[in-house]
C-alpha cells in the first residue's frame, strides 16, 4: 500500500495590497474543496497563523511600502520553496506606488495635517507603526520571485489554473483570456 502523498503547504499574505487578490482567490468557490484535498494552509489570513513555517508555495499580494512588509516578504522567501507574486501591486507596485513621484513627507503632511479635522495629532509616530519606505517597490526588487500572476486582481480562474498546474507538477501557464493586467 502506498503512503498518501503529503499535502502541499501554502502560505499567503497581503503586503501593500487591498486583499482584492485574496478575495479573488476565494472566488474559486467550490474548487476550494479540491484544493484542501491536496493542500493545507500555513500563515495566511485564512488561518490567522502569525508566522510562516517551511512551505511549498507562498502567495504574495501587494508591493512593499513599509519596513514590516520587508520583514514579512523576507520571511516568506526564507520559508517558501516557490514564491509567487500575485496581482498588479506585487508585480509593479500598483496603486500604492502611485505615490512614488511625490515626496513622502508631503504625502503625510497632506493626509495628517492639511486636512480639516485631522490637524490635531500630526503625523502618527507610534513606535508600533512600521516605518514607511520612501518609495513603494514591487516585490521582485527585494527578493527572488519564481512566478508572477498578473491582474488587478487576477481572476479566481487564473489563480486556480496556476496553482493546480504547479501542484500537479506542470509548468504553470495562463491562457490568453486569463492574461489580464487590468
Amino acid at each position: 500500500m502506498s503512503t498518501p502523498r503529503p499535502k502541499v503547504r501554502i502560505a499567503t499574505t497581503s503586503l501593500a495590497g487591498c486583499f482584492g487578490c485574496h478575495m479573488s482567490f476565494l472566488d474559486i468557490d467550490e474548487l476550494l474543496f479540491d484544493l484542501v484535498e491536496v493542500a493545507e494552509f500555513d500563515r495566511s489570513p485564512l488561518t490567522d497563523i502569525k508566522h510562516c513555517g517551511p512551505c511549498d508555495i507562498g502567495l504574495i499580494e501587494g508591493g512593499v511600502c513599509n519596513a514590516e512588509n520587508v520583514h514579512v516578504l523576507r520571511e516568506f522567501r526564507h520559508n517558501c520553496k516557490t514564491l509567487i507574486a500575485v496581482g498588479a501591486c506585487a508585480i509593479n507596485g500598483g496603486l500604492p506606488a502611485q505615490r512614488n513621484h511625490l515626496e513622502l513627507e508631503s504625502c503625510l503632511r497632506e493626509v495628517y495635517q492639511s486636512r480639516a479635522g485631522l490637524g490635531q495629532g500630526g503625523v502618527p509616530d507610534d513606535p508600533e507603526l512600521p516605518l514607511l519606505l520612501d518609495k513603494v517597490r514591487p516585490i521582485h526588487e527585494l527578493v527572488r520571485i519564481d512566478y508572477f500572476i498578473p491582474g488587478c486582481p487576477p481572476s479566481g480562474e487564473a489563480i486556480w489554473k496556476f496553482l493546480s498546474d504547479l501542484i500537479a507538477g506542470r509548468t504553470p501557464r495562463l491562457s490568453y483570456p486569463m492574461m489580464r493586467f487590468d
Binding site: 498588479a88 508585480i91 506606488a97 513621484h101 514591487p138
Partner: protein, 234 residues
Amino acid sequence: MSKQFLFDGRPVRFEEGQTILQAARAAGHYIPHLCWHPDFPPHGSCKLCIVKVAGRHVSSCALPAKEGMEVESNTPEINGERRALVQMLFVEGNHFCPSCEKSGNCELQALAYDLEMMGERFAHFFPDRPVDASHPEMLLDFNRCIFCELCVRASREVDGKSVFALTGRGIHKHLVVNAESGRLGDTDFSADDMAANICPVGVIVRKRVGFATPIGARKYDDKPIHLVDMEDGK
C-alpha cells in the same frame, strides 16, 4: 517573376523595395511592432520587429527583403528578446494598467499579453511625468509614453502642425508640446488630427469617453494582437 525569401521556413514573395516586414505582412505573417505604421517610413526605434537574418539581428521594418534571405521571427529566442524589450518599456514609464482608460486597446499591453510577459523583471524607474489636461478635448498622460514618435510624425507630416517633439536623453527623454507655455491647450491641436488618434498606448486620449467601451469588450480583450493587427488590413 517576383522574388522570394524564407520567413520562419516558409517562402514569402516580395517586390523589389519592400521591407521584410511589409512583405511578410502582405503574405499574412505578423511581426510584432510598436513604432512602425504603414503610413510612415520606418522609424526603427522600438526594435519589437527585430528578426534574425543570417545570424544577425535586424529591424524588419527597415531592412529591404532580398532574394533567398532566411528570416527567423516567431522563435522562442527572438520572442524572449521582444519580451525583454517590452519589460524595459514597462519599467521605464509608469504603466499602471488597472487605472488606464486605454487598457484593452493598448498595443504595448497587447504585446505584453501576446509575448506572455508575466512580470516586469527589471527595477522600476517610477519617473515623475505630470499630465497635461489643458486641452478642452484631449488629455496627455506622459506616464505612458514609449517614445515611438508616431504622434510627432503624424502631426508634422500629415496634420502639418508639428505639435509634438521628443527632447532629453536616457531616462530624461520625454515628449514635449510645441507651445511657449508647453501646454497642449495653447496649440492648434484638434481631436480630429491624425496625431490625436495614432497613439499606440494611453498618452493621447480623448476626454469624457474613457470607459464608453467597457473593459472586457475592447480590441485585444478576447483576441491577441497577432490576429487583430492582421485583420485591420493596415
